[in-house]
């Protein structure tokens, strides 16, 4: 549904996006994550036809973004980082206007406006002026305008920024409900959001993709394999555990008092072997667990090791 190949964008001497390659299948939700200034907004603006790319190709909904921008624009719903509202207009007039410019057929416009208002929880607000809305409601109107023409592709730039936790959950649920055959790209730097809503993740830093794939893959990539934790009490624990067949690396962590905490890298699950070893050696076991790295850890691990790895690429500045 969305295909990006070797996309580059240069603002004067600044390389905002470098050699981006990714693909989003029909009906899936892609999380676009990265620190501020990583190039998320730039990429989304290119995909929506707002900005031209310096080089590279992009197809959205089967059309080349640079050759047939109008066809792409008809099929994409876009929520910019700041909801694009006219403070002088009322919610209803505004959505009707967007329906008009997004070419919703005249006889369907009122119905569609009503439907999207219902969908984002704005029923009964059509006469309110946009300028008088709170941040959360502005964001809802922003989402409603992106949906009003029932687009195949939704591109949302930080859809939950500035919302309270309840509203954030609401938007996430909405995104999941919208799913189905709609393709969604959403950018965020709130990782919980990606975990809650997305099938795939593209992690971007300094304009480059540093990790992509399913959530599991990205986590895996970040931590270099599955990690286990153990807290044991006994003699020569570290040596004995390291000698096990399953373990590849053992790292002692600062434990508390009598118990020794270990971080264990392993090819296959070492927990049964450790348990057996503990029983045979008469060790005390307080914890034995598989550590699932959070996306935060993955993010920090990947982004944290980035600058040194990619500095040569920015020498053009």
């Amino acid at each position: 549904m969305i295909e990006v190949k070797a996309l580059c964008k240069r603002y004067g001497p600044l390389l905002a996006v470098k050699d981006l390659d990714f693909h989003v299948g029909k009906g899936s939700i892609l999380g676009f994550i990265g620190p501020n200034g990583a190039g998320k907004t730039t990429t989304m603006r290119i995909l929506t036809g707002y900005l031209p790319a310096t080089s590279g190709d992009a197809w959205v909904a089967g059309f080349d973004v640079f050759e047939s921008p109008m066809e792409v624009k008809r099929r994409v719903g876009y929520l910019p980082e700041r909801p694009p509202l006219y403070p002088e207009l009322s919610v209803g007039d505004y959505l009707y206007f967007v329906a008009e410019i997004r070419r919703v057929p005249a006889r369907e416009r009122y119905r569609r406006v009503g439907e999207v208002m219902e969908l984002v929880g704005l029923s009964g607000w059509e006469r309110r002026l946009l300028g008088s809305l709170s941040k959360g409601y502005r964001q809802r109107v922003g989402l409603a305008q992106a949906l009003v023409h029932d687009p195949q592709v939704l591109i949302l730039d930080e859809p939950t920024s500035g919302l309270d936790p309840g509203q954030t959950v609401g938007i996430r649920e909405l995104l999941r409900d919208l799913g189905g055959d709609r393709t969604v790209i959403l950018s965020t730097h709130i990782l919980a959001e990606v975990e809650a809503a997305c099938d795939h993740v593209v992690l971007i830093n300094q304009g480059r993709i540093v990790a992509s794939g399913s959530l599991e893959q990205v986590r895996h990539e970040a931590t270099g394999g599955i990690v286990y934790g153990a807290e044991l009490q006994g003699e020569d624990i570290i040596m004995a555990v390291a000698e096990l067949e399953e373990t590849t690396r053992v790292e002692p962590l600062p434990g508390d008092g009598a118990f020794q905490a270990l971080k264990i890298w392993a090819d296959s699950d070492p927990r049964p072997a450790i348990a057996r070893l503990a029983a045979n050696s008469g060790w005390q076991v307080r914890a034995l667990e598989k550590i699932t790295p959070s996306l935060e850890d993955a993010f920090l691990a990947i982004v944290g090791r980035e600058p040194s790895a990619h500095r040569p690429g920015r020498s053009s500045r």
Binding site: G49, Y50, Y78, Y86, E88, L89, F97, E100, R103
Partner: protein, 237 residues
């Protein structure tokens, strides 16, 4: 075409839900009333010559204020991004906005029609001259709106856009008087043909000259075209 119509309606709505249109219309009608009165008392003739002449210079200052909002505000508020990511060709956007400001101008001319009515009641005005004077003024307002839109596309600051509009238009007014300072015949002719007053004069005398029509048409076209190019080039920066 749907896009032009949608933009046009939106712009008019924004004009009339904000105080802008009302302030603008009242200021304009007040000044026209003043000029009408002065024209009658000073010259004592049953014509709108003085009033219409003064309205042209008033428009030069007032119309840029009316159009300054258009692109400056869209860009500042981020709504330009909405328009440019919707299937709206840039040309339709500009035409829609131009049409909305033109309609507002026509409304304000409609308000001044009370003065010819007064003249007709008390005297015997020359209707032909009156009609061509109005035509000239209307064409002039179209051209000023186009220049105002261009000024608005240059910056994201409304006030700067308004001032820029006046600064762009003022030379076209002033070079009319500048012609008397030069003895070079070629230069004088160039200045004269670029000056607004030269081309308004025919209309105020009841003459519709195709050269004058062409002047105002190309004036509008050039500024609309420049607006298009400016907005287009913004995307590449």
């Amino acid at each position: 075409m749907t896009a032009v119509w949608a933009i046009f309606k939106k712009e008019l709505r924004i004009y009339f839900v904000s105080p802008l249109a009302y302030v603008f219309l009242s200021v304009f009608l007040f000044l026209s009333g003043l000029f009408f009165y002065l024209g009658l008392t000073v010259n004592g003739e049953a014509s709108l010559r003085v009033m219409l002449g003064n309205l042209a210079i008033t428009m030069l200052f007032v119309l840029p204020m009316l159009t300054m909002r258009h692109f400056a505000e869209e860009q500042k508020a981020g709504t330009f991004e909405l328009l440019m990511t919707s299937p709206v060709p840039l040309g339709s956007l500009i035409l829609g906005k131009w049409a909305a400001s033109i309609v507002l101008c026509l409304l304000m001319f409609l308000g001044t029609l009370i003065f010819p009515a007064v003249l007709a009641y008390y005297g015997d005005p020359d209707w032909g001259v009156m009609a061509t004077s109005y035509l000239g003024l209307i064409l002039c307002s179209f051209a000023f709106c186009a220049a105002g839109l261009f000024a608005s596309s240059l910056t994201t600051d409304q006030v700067a856009a308004g001032l820029a509009g006046i600064i762009i238009l003022l030379p076209f007014w002033l070079i009319g008087s500048a012609t008397s300072f030069t003895t070079n015949e070629t230069l004088r002719q160039i200045l004269e043909s670029a000056a607004l007053l030269t081309h308004l004069r025919g209309f105020t005398r009841g003459v519709i000259d195709s050269a004058d029509l062409a002047y105002f048409a190309s004036f509008s076209f050039i500024f609309l075209f420049l607006t298009y190019r400016t907005l287009e080039s913004r995307r590449w920066r």
